[in-house]
């Protein structure tokens, strides 16, 4: 500790150390250790549920000769043979693999098991193949679903994303399987092109990914409009729900290491029609000089391979996605200041406060409604949320700014989640105005007056409409 420049707060460290010492002072398990380490004849430790069964592997060190590291297929197999015998998963796989699987498939699964069992950290998401195939943009924004969807709900995909030094990377494996997650239930497996070594992360602080609106406000203002009832429409006049989310990753692409902030803007057309989305992705490379767009073409394939158990390619012939690309961020190359910065929209972040607690909830939809919404059914719309915890926490839902103009003392928006019926209440101070783009929440007096007048007109218009409806109901022959 002497050499460390940063020493924290000594008093606090001491307090923590002493408290922990007090707790552990009651621990006395040496007899138990001794019994197991120096067993007498026929000792029975079956009740411990945690016994060492393979002495060669208690340290977990690789027992592989360096020579093998350079022989790709042989190396992977040897590493797995040596490091995995203590894993029931690995054992089961190796029992099965020689019997019925294709060598290329075996090689990839062996690499996957070796990678995820050898001390590397992976964050894991599990999603149905149907959701992944149809909503791939919400699952892995820059990666398409690597498997063919043939209908049904039973098949699932488990996605493993490598974490190095607390940073998410784009090294991924995806496993298609049915029922329980075990090797004999695997259908196909895919691996990303990117591969990271543990010591490859630059020894610098995690970059600040605060890229402000990252063009989101501009894109919303540019491609969407709201009518006098604050309903959001796309430029074709379809009722639309608009949302965005951001994921930050250490991204390896063609041997370049990028600190990417991946911003996805997506819009769902009216709930009355088939579920269809449009989207665009703005990937910003964060450097010392600022943020620079990194362009991914539609044809950029980030998966290295996707293999069925019989060795055939598991990539789908055609994407089953419900997401259609739209150039929402095409303005990025242009000076965005030339665009008119309307103040027609607001946004709120329903899951911002739940960061770190949402990862096990998968993809689900949220119904947005408000008693103050200028529509008879009070329903604003429905939209799906992204899969990742980071995506959920950063999710913005864009609405017409009716709430800010409400005459109610405590206007609210209800966000009802489809998976657990949780109802999140968003209050006016949770809703951010998009007056201009950077200066959120700054409104001029003139704008406020103009909006108030607009609101009064809207309310009067709504009253007239309701009155007409009532008259029509009472006197149907009129």
């Amino acid at each position: 500790m002497k050499n460390d420049k940063f020493n924290g707060d000594r008093q606090f460290e001491e307090m923590l150390k002493n408290k922990m010492k007090e707790i552990s002072s009651n621990v006395d398990v040496f007899d138990k250790i001794s019994e197991r380490a120096f067993p007498e004849k026929d000792s029975d430790f079956s009740d411990s549920e945690f016994t060492v069964s393979d002495l060669e592997n208690v340290t977990g060190k690789h027992l592989v000769s360096p020579f093998f590291k350079w022989v790709a297929l042989a190396a992977v197999l040897v590493i797995c043979v040596v490091t995995l015998p203590f894993s029931s998963f690995g054992q089961q796989f190796f029992t099965d693999m020689s019997r019925r699987y294709d060598p290329a498939y075996n090689e990839l699964v062996a690499e996957f098991i070796s990678e995820t069992a050898n001390g590397s950290e992976y964050i894991i998401y599990d999603v149905s193949l149907k959701d992944y195939a149809q909503k791939d943009v919400l699952v892995t924004p820059l990666y398409r679903c690597p498997f063919e969807y043939r209908g049904g709900e039973a098949v699932r995909v488990r996605i493993f994303t490598k974490v190095i030094g607390n940073r998410l990377t784009n090294q991924m494996y995806a496993v298609e399987y049915t029922d329980e997650f075990k090797a004999s239930n695997f259908i196909a497996i895919a691996e990303s092109k990117a591969k990271f070594k543990e010591d490859e992360v630059p020894e610098t602080e995690e970059p600040s990914f605060d890229v402000g609106n990252a063009g989101l406000s501009e894109a919303v203002n540019l491609y969407f409009v709201r009518d006098e009832f604050f309903t959001v429409h796309d430029k074709d006049g379809n009722n639309t729900m608009v949302a965005s989310f951001t994921e930050n990753k250490l991204f390896k692409l063609d041997n370049n290491m990028l600190d990417l902030s991946v911003n996805t803007l997506y819009a769902r057309k009216s709930k009355d029609k088939d579920e269809m989305y449009t989207y665009d992705i703005l990937a910003l490379d964060i450097t010392d000089k600022g943020a620079e767009r990194y362009n991914f073409s539609d044809k950029t394939e980030l998966w290295a391979r996707s293999i069925n158990v019989d060795g055939s390619s598991a990539f789908p012939e055609k994407r089953a996605t419900l997401f259609e690309k739209n150039g929402y961020f095409s303005f990025w190359a242009v000076n965005s200041s030339q665009f008119k910065k309307d103040d027609y929209f607001s946004y709120f972040m329903p899951f911002e406060k739940s960061k770190g607690k949402m990862a096990d909830r998968g993809i689900f939809s949220v119904d947005i409604s408000s008693d103050q919404y200028l529509s008879s059914d009070k329903e604003i719309g429905t939209i799906d949320v992204p899969l990742s915890d980071e995506g959920k926490a950063s999710m913005r839902i864009y609405i017409g700014n009716f709430l800010a103009l409400s005459s109610f003392s405590d206007p609210t928006i209800n966000v009802k989640a489809s998976d657990n019926n949780e109802n999140i209440i968003m209050r006016s101070n949770d809703v951010k105005w998009m007056a201009g783009t950077a200066e959120e929440g700054n409104d001029t007096e003139d704008q406020a007056t103009q909006q108030k007048n607009e609101q009064e007109e809207n309310e009067a218009s709504l009253e007239r409409r309701q009155s007409e409806i009532e008259q029509t109901t009472v006197n149907p022959t009129w």
């Binding site: 940063f6 460290e13 340290t59 995995l84 069992a117 030094g165």
Partner: protein
């Protein structure tokens, strides 16, 4: 649409970190290293190691499992595994780092095994003695404000008195990352401790 998310850290019994003697004080570690080599056949050596490292192994276990009894199991399992070690260099190894790496992997395994269906860190056992319960709850209440890696970093630094370089090796991250995690964690803890008072 069910989904589950877990952070995998290490396989069963996996320890791949290689420690160098230059990271530690030579005299102390030569003794520790020698004890590690001999503990497989000598109960006395094992006992010495147990006395020397029981507290920090428990602390590492508790920071990961947040459970008194699982941390206790972690202590037992770590020292049992230590007696099974066959490949450890008495001259080049960092004994303390080696023991704490085993402890960390054992604790992660225990947590995966016993908390698969329950990631709620506030339902756990705290031991029997009143003071232990009180302290356990206090520590857990403090540590709950940190994420997994921050908890481990703080415990390795405060309770095991590891250097950031050693922490980086155990947690497989750069030294600077360990340092910034610690700095952030301590500021969070101080803030929370202040709020509680």
């Amino acid at each position: 649409m069910n989904a589950d998310t877990k952070l995998f850290s290490g396989g069963e019994g996996a320890i791949f970190t290689v420690f160098n003697a230059k990271d530690t004080t030579p005299e102390a570690d030569n003794t520790v290293n020698s004890l590690i080599i001999r503990c497989a056949s000598s109960k006395e050596c094992l006992s010495k190691l147990y006395i020397m490292f029981k507290d920090c192994v428990f602390a590492v276990g508790f920071s990961i499992t947040a459970d008194y009894h699982l941390a206790e199991d972690c202590v037992a399992e770590t020292f049992v595994r230590l007696t099974q070690v066959k490949r450890f260099s008495e001259k080049k190894g960092d004994g303390k780092g080696f023991i704490l790496t085993i402890a960390r992997n054992v604790a992660l395994e225990l947590r995966r095994r016993y908390k698969k269906e329950n990631i709620n860190y506030f339902i756990q056992s705290y031991g029997e003695a009143e003071k232990t319960v009180e302290d356990s709850i206090y520590i857990n209440q403090l540590l709950k404000n940190l994420n997994d890696v921050q908890r481990q970093t703080v415990i390795l630094k405060c309770c095991a008195e590891m250097t950031f370089k050693q922490i980086g090796k155990i947690m497989k991250c750069p030294e600077t990352t360990a340092k910034s995690r610690y700095k952030k964690a301590i500021s969070i803890l101080q803030e929370k401790a202040g709020e509680d008072q």
